[in-house]
Symmetry: C2
Subunit: 513 residues, 2 copies
């Protein structure tokens, strides 16, 4: 089956029919949101104490059995212990055929490969960073992986596309009723927005904490009224890997050049005006863009109305200096982010519902003036890849990347080539975002503006920026590196990429190792 981007996709994924990608804004959802069963307080302890002694008991009371969908969140990033514990228990109990539905997975979840091998886990729906992606790429998983953006995951749960049987929510602080937040405790991660949909829509919800406090746990980022059981454990994760002590701006002169050029472009295009808004990630280049924004804003005497996080110490200092009115934060990347979120009412915790859900009555993504994102590959129609490398390996997740493409201006600062492989090519290995939403590609050898954005081209004219066409950039890279070989990929599909509306945008193919 071919979709609107002319990509070949399977008609069914894990036995379920899928809807092919139809174009930006072209697919109209029908029907009603997923409707969870009506509960009654009669089934819950009158004094609000929902504690059970162990995670194992909570899972058993939740009716854990073959074929269920188990969700976890990724706020503990590469420091997470909890997802591994859940499947250790499932493995011990001899449960088979589970669907693991994390908001993302990390190298620390390599531990779960044995459960993918022995059939405890049938397949993963959720972004895969590192070893699990490699394992899936090489055809090791029984089912087909499904990758969704943060907003797409909320949409899939809300729309009943994925029905969660048991949500396991790791909570840095919680009370026995199940109110929970990510702000305090040894496993503090900032917020718990990635678990919001799970709490609202899952059949059974378990909150697991290593910092149980008396009711009420304030603030309640997760509301205990959605929670079935609470569990105390020793340690949810490794604090040093949950949150970095410090984030660091790139020192690479090449990447600093990309960052400066990106900021200059924004300035020339008139984006850096009083009251503007921006989002830039936690990578070294993105952080550097933020620092150039700071410099330009100070020079111009302007401030931003809001910045979307991933927050970090740089963004926090801009908030505290009064350069941004609000941080609307989706995840905190360092200790300063956690501190600020706990202390400062203008450092606001958001969720994939507020920020990104494509099947809501609007979301925040479209209101952001400019976002700065990464990409592994970009084609001459500005379609971009963010999950696979040029060798075909699935090694990254989608995160909020697809959702951010709805911002008013989308800029991808990328090197012209990496390890002598050009980034801009005729066709990308996997399309994750349609070119019509990608406006500017900034490289060390020139800036290509999407011809659809003539307004931007006009705006920056005469600003001394090295504008080129994307074809020119591609040709320059090929002159240096040669024309890259296409990776040798099987016809077998190991994973699919969903668009923000639940349609299938592309397929990821098996790699011959």
């Amino acid at each position: 089956m071919k979709n609107a981007l002319n990509r070949v996709i399977p008609g069914k994924v894990n036995g379920e029919p899928v809807v092919p990608y139809k174009g930006v804004g072209k697919y109209r959802p029908e029907g009603q949101k997923h409707a969870p069963k009506i509960s009654t307080v009669t089934d819950y302890p009158a004094d609000g104490d929902k504690r059970v002694p162990t995670l194992r008991e909570a899972l058993m009371r939740s009716g854990l059995r073959d074929g269920m969908t188990i969700s976890t969140h990724h706020h503990f990033r590469n420091g997470d212990y909890l997802a591994n514990m859940v499947f250790d228990i499932a493995g011990e109990l001899g449960i088979k055929g589970l669907r693991w539905f994390p908001s993302a997975s990390f190298p620390c979840h390599e531990h779960l490969i044995k459960y993918l091998r022995d059939g405890t886990i049938h397949h993963i729906e959720g972004s895969m960073n590192g070893p699990l992606g490699k394992f899936v790429s090489e055809g090791g998983m029984k089912g087909t992986g499904v990758l969704r953006s943060h907003g797409g995951r909320y949409q899939a749960i809300q729309d009943g596309e994925v029905k969660i049987d048991i949500a396991v929510i790791g909570a840095p602080t919680a009370d026995p009723f199940g109110n929970a937040n990510g702000l305090y405790g040894n496993s503090a991660c900032g917020l718990l927005g990635f678990a919001l949909a799970d709490s609202q829509y899952a059949d059974k919800v378990i909150v697991v904490t290593d910092n149980m406090v008396d009711f009420p746990c304030i603030p309640w980022q997760i509301q205990g009224n959605y929670v079935d059981y609470t569990v105390e454990i020793e340690k949810l994760g490794d604090p040093e890997k949950i949150i970095s002590g410090t984030t660091r701006i790139t020192r690479s002169p090449d990447r600093l050049l990309l960052a400066e050029r990106t900021a200059r472009f924004c300035d020339a295009a008139g984006i850096l005006r009083d009251g503007f808004s921006f989002q830039s990630g936690a990578g070294g280049t993105s952080l550097a863009v933020g620092e150039y924004f700071r410099k330009f804003m100070k020079e111009k005497g302007i401030k931003a109305r809001f910045a979307r996080g991933g927050s970090n110490k740089y963004l926090v200092s801009m908030l505290e200096e009064g350069l941004v009115d609000y941080i609307l934060d989706g995840q905190t990347f360092d200790l300063e982010g956690v501190r600020s979120m706990a202390e400062n009412q203008n450092h606001v915790w958001t969720s994939p519902f507020t920020s990104y859900n494509h099947h809501g009555k609007g979301n925040f993504a479209g209101m952001v003036d400019v976002v700065v994102l990464g990409a592994t590959e970009i084609d001459i129609n500005f379609n971009a890849n963010v999950v696979t490398h040029s060798d075909g390996y699935l090694l990254h997740g989608l995160g909020g990347w697809q959702n951010c493409l709805f911002s008013k201006t989308v800029i991808l600062p990328v090197p012209l080539f990496r390890d002598r492989i050009p980034v801009i090519k005729d066709a990308v290995t996997t399309i994750c975002g349609p070119g019509e939403l990608i406006d500017v590609v900034v490289t060390e050898r020139g800036i290509a503006v999407n011809p659809a954005r003539q307004d931007l081209i006009d705006a920056v004219k005469g600003a001394g920026l090295p504008l080129k066409t994307i074809e020119e950039l591609k040709a320059e890279a090929e002159k240096i590196c040669g024309i890259p070989q296409k990776p040798q990929l099987d016809v077998d599909v190991v994973a699919v990429i969903k668009w923000v509306d639940g349609t299938v945008m592309d397929a990821v193919h098996r790699v011959r190792p």
Copy 2:
């Protein structure tokens, strides 16, 4: 049809079959929560600006037509202008047969009687305070009124028992996207919890504000992602009536005696221990109970973990003195309450979902150690009435009263008689709460403890409190006032009282004026 309290109730209300009350915790809900239609951001402005020029246009774009259900909230209390505006527009447009579904109505809504007369409004589902209650009592309304507690209203919306076509949410502060709060602006009312369910479940949601701010409106007590249209108007209400400049403790020696006795009872019963929790209303006697709690707590050197609001300056000062760790607030009654909620993260805004929803996975009501409530009548089985007077007139709403009955100890301080009519009688005019949930009746002539609470009777023995049976209290009142005559009531039912689980507890009959 008779229910488990032996009350005669109609089998159908407004043409819909009803479930009779079955006893505390006896009714088990079935099925799924109400599932709103899936939206798509494609149908909303990409820049998040959902403003339309007038409320009239917002209502028309929302498809206002005959027979619809229109909801409003009562955070503006007796200062509300908005509900009247909505039905003025409906009246001008010639719309008929609307169901008005307010979270409560007040004397300021007397204006709507003309629309009840001319058929613009078919009937009201929501508590009625004052003139509308009188109008309904005398048989003026075409349909049958349905009274629900705050928690019961959330339950009814969540369960799909009441489907809201258009929710009109008055917001003291909002942004063009629809994020809204009650904390700031000329119409500040504190919070917007009573409109939460409406925002989540209504088909169309309109946010109306007299204080439009740039995105983002922080905090967002109502999330713009649920909102269809936003409207700016001059004035939502009369600030002096929305919130009182000051709340005042009773100076009546009789009521002070009731308050002191209530607090003494709590002390003797061991309820006032370190880390306890309490809820007491905003009436003069309740406020005085709080002040006695403060005195006792200081003497004993203890503090409360949380107090449930209605907040007011007295409760706020206890929070600020460190006598309570948290206020979990459902509505703010004075300016100090609003100030504190805006400033202090430990003054927490709650909602009927967190506090009271009987069809959730637990709620807060059962966790409160003691609540102090009012009643118009109490029978010898401790069943109590809070909506009608002894003359049969429906003059008050249920508020959170039914929900609070789930607290660990429920105390009703009441005078033995009012205007020479005894409060304790063989049978109350309308049962709003079952006696099995009511523990203590405190009067100026003695305290009656429900025999089902032998633990309380034992605990306070020897404390010098004037314990009597409820029959003794009734006899004392009758000795002074005589046996009260039963009111002359029609068989016609003008309204029904729902229990927290959606079953029908009692019927309110037409009064012959």
